[in-house]
Amino acid sequence: MKHTPLHDLHVAAGATMVPFGGWHMPVQYGPILDEVRRVRAHAGLFDLSHMGRVLLDGPDALGLTEKLVTCFVGKIPVGSIRYGCLCREDGMPLDDLLVYRDAESTIYLVVNAANTERDLAWIREHASGAELTIDDQTEATAMLAVQGPQSPEALQPLVEGLTLTDLGYYKFAHATVSGIPNVRVSRTGYTGEIGFELYFPAEEGPRIWNEILTAGKAQGIAPIGLGARDTLRLEAGMSLYGHEIDEEHDPIQAGLEFAVSFKEEKGDWIGRAALERIQANPQRALVGITTSGRRVPRKGYALVHGERVVGEVVSGAVSPTLETNIGSAYLPLDLSQPGTEVEMEMRGKRQTCTVTELPFYSRTR
């Protein structure tokens, strides 16, 4: 199992460590629900060094990325980021990812840990003959996230040459952080809060981690594990590969049309025709479910309507923000309207769930 540059600090902090996507990662440092509340009210620090980071550089970098991902890469201004999926010819996603436009023909991809190797193989396979370098920077770099309403105040003291509050959502810049020049800082995250993601050389990981915890002390910053991260992203209605999307769940019915470009100027791309067909004739929709019962929705539970199995739960969590149990699920279109009641079935027992609009939580609401 792989270790991030912060691994030993997590262990020393008493984190519960679990295997995750081939890495030994902290699932929680303390109570998960407290970690969720801290990020919603204050600020949290996440080690995301397990995520895959790949730099594509060269004359064909843009053209190749355009062909491989669902979003319109050519329309991303330099210094901006878009979310997209990497799909097979049949439209089914191999992964979802962030696409950073570093320069006209330089593109930085951030992908899921568990899929990094498969993504790289896919990219290389389609790059044969193309003029570009494909540089897997995952192990040479560390990736941290600072998330929460107080994250700008917590992080700013360490940052030179960039006013964090001036950085727009899904924009990035390079700045000096803790004395390290040229750190990639993006206004992105997976929590639904204001927040930033930082990328810098792996060997600086422990020092920057500790300096952020010290700098953000007054803002109540603390390390947050992957358990709380999963709850935060589900509350914010964000998809997780292996749950809302995977090789059996396409991005259209997952409600990710915003990340899929059918614009003519984008040209043909892998999965386009299949996803156009799905968009023309969707059968099911990803919905939120809430349940006042004590059982928590879990991936794989069947949803029944009367005596008919109509859908499946793909994610679930105890939500301290909404003070109820929440989940996301696929239901046929005629049962996907908010307010519709279905039952989730667990080993023969049933509990009523109500279809709810996604996201459950929005900072601006």
């Binding site: 699932v27 929680q28 358990g227 004590r294 059982r295 928590v296 879990r298 105890v318 080993r347």
Partner: protein, 133 residues
């Protein structure tokens, strides 16, 4: 070492003879694994109806934490004759006293022998290995 007045399953249930019946609960290790020491992390415990017949090893219930669901397995075959009514609304009992007040079900066993189960020493080995993993 854990109490040696009872026997254990590798899946972290305990079984204790009490007259003609067997009390069944889960160990402090199981509670710790599910709750990570934070009792708020336990959200639900599903226990069976009185009268249900169980095979040895059969799943008779589930215990659920914020992030996981674990099966509760029967250490002996028999009939459920009593269910601890306090557990459902007071999951904290499982953390404060898993050995006595935290019993979950009382089974009238088909056979009173617990010889097929692990003794406290063998169970300690299971815990040590689980901690090392």
């Amino acid at each position: 070492m854990r109490p040696d007045d009872r026997k254990y399953l590798e899946s972290h249930e305990w079984a204790k003879l009490d007259g003609d019946t067997v009390l069944v609960g889960i160990t402090d290790f199981a509670v710790g694994e599910l709750s990570h020491g934070n009792i708020e992390d336990l959200v639900y415990c599903d226990l069976p109806e009185v009268g249900r017949q169980l095979e040895q090893g059969e799943t008779f219930g589930e215990i659920e934490s914020v992030k996981a669901v674990a099966d509760l397995n029967a250490p002996v075959a028999g009939e459920i004759v009593e269910v601890n009514p306090a557990i459902e609304d007071h999951l904290e009992i499982l953390a404060t006293d898993p050995w006595e007040k935290g019993w979950m079900v009382r089974i009238k066993p088909n056979s009173k022998s617990l010889d097929h189960l692990l003794d406290a020493e063998a169970y300690e080995q299971v815990v040590t290995e689980a901690q090392g993993a």
